[in-house]
Symmetry: C2
Subunit: 362 residues, 2 copies
Amino acid sequence: MKRVFNFSAGPAQLPLDVLIRAQEELLSYQNIGMSIMEISHRSIHFKKVIERVEELMRELLQIPDNYKVLFIQGGASLQFSMVPLNLFKENKHASYVHSGSWSKKAIAEASKFGDIHIIASSEEQQFTYFPSFQVHQLNENTNYLHITTNNTIEGTRFTCTEELPKNGIPVVADMSSNILSEELDVSQYGLIYAGAQKNLGIAGLTIVIIREDLVGNTGVDCPTMLNYETYAKAESLYNTPPTFSIYMTMLVLEWLKELGGIPEIAKRNIEKAKIFYDFLDTSSFFSSNVKKADRSLMNIPFTTVSKELNSLFIQIAEQEGFYALKGHRSVGGMRASLYNAMPLDAVLELVAFMKQFEEKYA
Amino acid sequence: MKRVFNFSAGPAQLPLDVLIRAQEELLSYQNIGMSIMEISHRSIHFKKVIERVEELMRELLQIPDNYKVLFIQGGASLQFSMVPLNLFKENKHASYVHSGSWSKKAIAEASKFGDIHIIASSEEQQFTYFPSFQVHQLNENTNYLHITTNNTIEGTRFTCTEELPKNGIPVVADMSSNILSEELDVSQYGLIYAGAQKNLGIAGLTIVIIREDLVGNTGVDCPTMLNYETYAKAESLYNTPPTFSIYMTMLVLEWLKELGGIPEIAKRNIEKAKIFYDFLDTSSFFSSNVKKADRSLMNIPFTTVSKELNSLFIQIAEQEGFYALKGHRSVGGMRASLYNAMPLDAVLELVAFMKQFEEKYA
């Protein structure tokens, strides 16, 4: 069983130990004679799984007691609707930081339901930096402030947490591509959401961390499955949840806890990204166009000196076992995603390969 | 690796061959060096998977060309909202057949968005039969007729397909617990939906088969992820779909095709159910309270002569390796779910065990 170096932006690489454990017990979960996929979401075995995932999330992220952890389907794209439908008050006004392709979709969706004010944008520079904003720019009647803390496609991240409002306006954060990758103070946010297919597990599950006072304020005509209260009241078992995806998240979180939790993975992620960016910055052949201070630790877009050499690089890289390095179609070039499951060795191997490529084609 | 007899109503038993194949290639799908869980939904490998699932669905169910096959998340419960949001016309009027706990939820949800007329109900008899209805009862301005073709909890099914309207009113059918289990003429329906965790695969995926003219008629304020057009236009790849669940459905459909498709599985399902019902009808200890003509082939609720003996039966059955036989809390007693993946042998073993139990405790 040969495995390749997989730099996919998501669904992304999983820790090998996690896959092996899933494989080992695929036909009989904990020797019960049934697969975890084959048991009722109301069975004692599955209830222990979902409770364990919540417990691990709370422990790893030190989630305060006045927050709920919800397990939802539909991806971040469904959250783009659920956030306004649940958090809008009568005046239906929200503020968004526009930092990339995903915030664009979030803004377009929320605009269906109310007035959206873009308080900062980096669109005029193709989102190559994270736009700064200041709390005093916020309309005091705005219902929430939405930010995308890591921009998967453009390779930027939000770092200035001291800019977040402390005046009671809830901050909503799309953390799909950087949750669990770095230190996080949950209490600075009203709501955090993340699709699982990058750092949390596999596609089909979205985790929402929400402050309790923000639950239960939708209109009566909100679809039941779009109301956070449905999940909060039923402990995410109102209907059948994506049981196998939740199980995979349990394995990923246990793996993360085992290796030392957020402090350890944050250190490793900084180290991996530094090796990669240091190489890009010393190379005269490969480069990044993202503002240094705003560079993502998770997703690193880069290019060679020409489109032709980009294509050649992607092609030869794949032959050498470095997969999914093609950049997003809206940005072009290449992108290396270095999520939690990416081992340091793989980054070192990729950089070594890039050096060779540079020597040959520069 | 000991496996038990698993009679779960869902998430339900999978064919052992399917689990074994998934296990074999869990670390490297088709020798690509990555798990199917770890690859982009836009990769060529995954695109082939989702296309193959659609192809197999079309082949097995002989779906006409003017129908779309959509892959959605959120379960049947989300369909309870999506159906009215997409199919309501200006007058917002729909007709529902009320045949059990799930139609109750579907009706409650649709009532948020328009006027719902219950054209037939078996609630006064605890849903122990499938309520008959006639087309002339339908308001000619009703936007659609909704039926639940198999009632998972109460153990009834809809058989009178000749009662379905032919006057252009679209029929919407929740087939979550009987899709692919018996012959079906898709052209009689405007829209069919089914959660995957019974006959189609695992939790986290809902398949919708919809006639093309019913797509694209929502209001502008419909959440993007609740609009069938989003899925139809993007071939269900607008955002990351539940990739592993879709893959598992491919394996299940290939298994079903291999064994002979719907004609063969329908024959087997009739045989399995007949063995079970024949035993119930000859036993003076075990019984079913469902009207004979309306009995489900998939879900068979039954009881002994007392609550105490029900509990004892469930307990001893589990010790003997017959799992998940406890009835739904709203009905009590026991329930055996005999989905496609349930082998005839398991039914014979269960009946033999029930005979022994009867001899000992009657």
